[in-house]
C-alpha cells in the first residue's frame, strides 16, 4: 500500500511553471532521491511535500488522506530539514534541540541525537560558535531527536565532513529498516541503497508561464491555481 503519494503536482513560482504533472508514491521503507540541476525545483517540490507551500494543481496524500485535510496529524508524522538550518545562534546546542522537540508531541531523545551526530561534546556551546558543518549536524540532530516515519531532506550532506556523511547514511538505513520513508534531494551522489532516483528536471515545461499560451486554461479552473 502506498503510504505517501502525490498526483499530477504542479509548482508555480513567481508566475513561472517550474514543473508540472509530477507523480510519486512511496511505501514504508522506501527511499526517493530527487536530482536535477540547480533551479530544477527540488527544494520547491520538497516544500510542497512538507506542506509549507501548496501545489498549484494536484494533491498529496499521506496514509490515504490529503495532507491539507488533517495537517496536524501529517505534520507530527514528518520531519523536514531544509536549506536553512533553523538554528538559534544565541542558544546552546542542547537548548536548540530542547526547543524543537518541545514543538512536537512525542517524547524525544536528545542525548541519543547528539551522539549520533557527534555533537555530544559541544552540547553546551552557543550555536554561534559552531562551524558550518557543525551547524548542519545540529539541524540533522533535530530530526534524529524525535521519531517520525517520514523524512524530507533538502541536500542533507551540504558542509558535512566524510565521517558525518557516513553517520547520516547509517541513520537513514536504520530509519528505513524500521519502516521509515526518506525523500532527499541532492546534487552529489548520495549512494542510498536501492533508493529510487528521479530527475525532477524532466518534468520542466520549457517556456511555460502562467499567463502565456493558455497554460491557465490547460490547468483548468477546478484545480486551484
Amino acid at each position: 500500500m502506498d503510504v505517501f503519494s502525490g498526483e499530477e503536482l504542479t509548482c508555480i513560482r513567481s508566475d513561472r511553471i517550474v514543473f508540472a504533472g509530477f507523480n510519486f508514491s512511496v511505501k514504508a521503507g522506501d527511499a526517493l532521491v530527487l536530482s536535477g540541476p540547480n533551479g530544477s525545483g527540488k527544494s520547491s517540490l520538497l516544500r510542497l511535500m512538507a506542506g509549507i507551500s501548496r501545489p498549484a494543481a494536484g494533491q498529496i496524500t499521506w496514509r490515504g488522506k490529503s495532507i491539507t485535510e488533517d495537517p496536524e496529524r501529517f505534520f507530527s508524522d514528518m520531519h523536514y530539514v531544509g536549506h536553512r538550518d533553523a538554528v538559534k545562534q544565541a542558544l546552546s546546542v542542547r537548548e536548540n534541540l530542547i526547543f524543537h522537540s518541545a514543538l512536537r508531541s512525542v517524547t524525544s531523545n536528545i542525548d541519543n541525537a547528539l551522539d549520533l551526530t557527534g555533537l555530544a561534546a559541544l552540547a553546551d556551546v552557543p550555536a554561534r560558535m559552531l562551524s558550518a558543518g557543525q551547524t548542519r549536524r545540529l539541524a540533522l540532530a533535530r530530526m534524529l531527536s524525535s521519531p517520525a516515519p517520514l523524512w524530507l531532506l533538502d541536500e542533507p550532506t551540504v558542509a558535512l565532513d566524510t565521517v558525518s556523511v557516513e553517520r547520516l547514511r547509517a541513520a537513514i538505513a536504520s530509519h528505513r529498516k524500521g519502516g521509515g520513508i526518506v525523500i532527499a534531494s541532492t546534487n552529489v551522489p548520495l549512494n542510498i541503497e536501492d533508493g529510487v532516483s528521479v530527475d525532477i528536471s524532466t518534468f520542466a515545461r520549457e517556456n511555460a508561464t502562467l499567463w502565456s499560451n493558455g497554460i491557465a486554461d490547460e490547468l483548468g479552473t477546478e484545480k486551484r491555481i
Binding site: A120, A121, L122, V125, M129
Partner: protein, 245 residues
C-alpha cells in the same frame, strides 16, 4: 615596559605584591580624611555644616573622571598594542567608576537642595556628568552584550575612546558656560584658592579614593583572569573531546 605587564602571569605577580600596600593606604587615608572632614575642619561661613558634603562630593567627582580617563587609556592600549589584560582592566574599572559617578550625582543633588533650592538643574556640568553616567552604563552593557568576550571588550573600547570627548566638556563646562555650579578652585592650574583647613581633608580623601580605586580594580582583574582561565580550560576540554570523538 608595558609589554611586560600585559602578560597575565606577570601582571598577577606584580598585582599580588602591590595589593597589600594599596589596601593599607586606602584604609589609613580615608579614615584620616574623614576625621579632618568632620572633626578638625570648620563649617563654612556661608554654607554651614552642609559644606561637609564636599569632602565626599568633590573626590568622587574627581574619581568619576579619573576612572573614565583610566578606561580611555586602557582601551587605547588594548586596541593598539592588543594587550588582553588592558581590556580586562578597563572592564574592571567601569562599574567602580559608575559608582563614583552615582555618588557624585547623589551628593551633588543632596547639596543642591539647600544651596540652590532644587535637587536638579539642567546646567552644563550637571548634564555632562549625567551623560558620563550613561556612558558608563553603555560601556558596561556593550561589553557584556556579546557571546564572545573579546568582541565585547574591543567594541566597548572604541566606545570609550569616542566617549572620551566628554571629559574635557565636564572639566571646562563651568568656564565655558555661565552656570550655577562652582568653578574649579582646588584643581586650578596655578594655586588653589581655598583654605588649608578645608584643603587637607579634601586632598586626603582624594588620594584615599584613588587608592580605593586601585585596590578594587586589582581585585576585580584578578577575579576576572581566574574565571577566564576556568572557562578556557573548560572550552579546551570540550574541543579536545570533539577532535577525539
Amino acid at each position: 615596559m608595558l609589554q611586560k605587564y600585559a602578560n597575565p602571569k606577570r601582571f598577577l605577580t606584580l598585582a599580588n605584591s602591590v595589593l597589600p600596600w594599596t589596601t593599607c593606604a586606602t584604609v589609613i587615608l580615608i579614615v584620616a580624611g574623614l576625621y579632618f572632614a568632620f572633626a578638625a575642619s570648620p563649617p563654612d561661613y556661608q554654607q554651614g555644616q552642609t559644606v561637609r558634603i564636599m569632602y565626599v562630593h568633590v573626590p568622587s567627582a574627581w574619581m568619576a573622571m579619573f576612572a573614565y580617563a583610566f578606561i580611555v587609556v586602557a582601551s587605547a592600549v588594548g586596541l593598539i598594542w592588543k594587550h588582553p589584560v588592558a581590556h580586562v582592566g578597563a572592564l574592571a574599572a567601569a562599574p567602580i567608576g559608575a559608582c563614583f559617578t552615582l555618588i557624585c550625582l547623589a551628593t551633588g543633588s543632596l547639596w543642591g537642595k539647600p544651596m540652590w533650592g532644587t535637587w536638579w538643574v539642567w546646567d552644563a556640568r550637571l548634564t555632562s556628568v549625567l551623560i558620563l553616567f550613561f556612558l558608563y552604563l553603555g560601556f558596561i552593557a556593550l561589553a557584556n552584550a556579546f557571546d564572545d568576550s573579546s568582541r565585547g571588550e574591543k567594541a566597548s573600547a572604541i566606545l570609550a575612546l569616542i566617549g572620551g570627548i566628554n571629559l574635557p566638556i565636564i572639566k571646562f563646562s563651568v568656564d565655558w558656560w555661565n552656570t550655577l555650579h562652582q568653578p574649579a578652585s582646588v584643581s586650578k592650574i596655578d594655586m588653589p584658592s581655598i583654605h588649608s583647613s578645608m584643603l587637607t581633608p579634601l586632598l586626603l580623601m582624594g588620594i584615599g579614593f584613588t587608592a580605593l580605586f586601585v585596590t578594587l580594580v586589582i581585585i576585580r582583574v584578578r577575579a576576572e583572569l581566574a574565571s577566564r582561565r576556568i572557562n578556557a580550560l573548560r572550552a579546551a576540554k570540550i574541543h579536545a573531546e570533539v577532535a577525539g570523538g
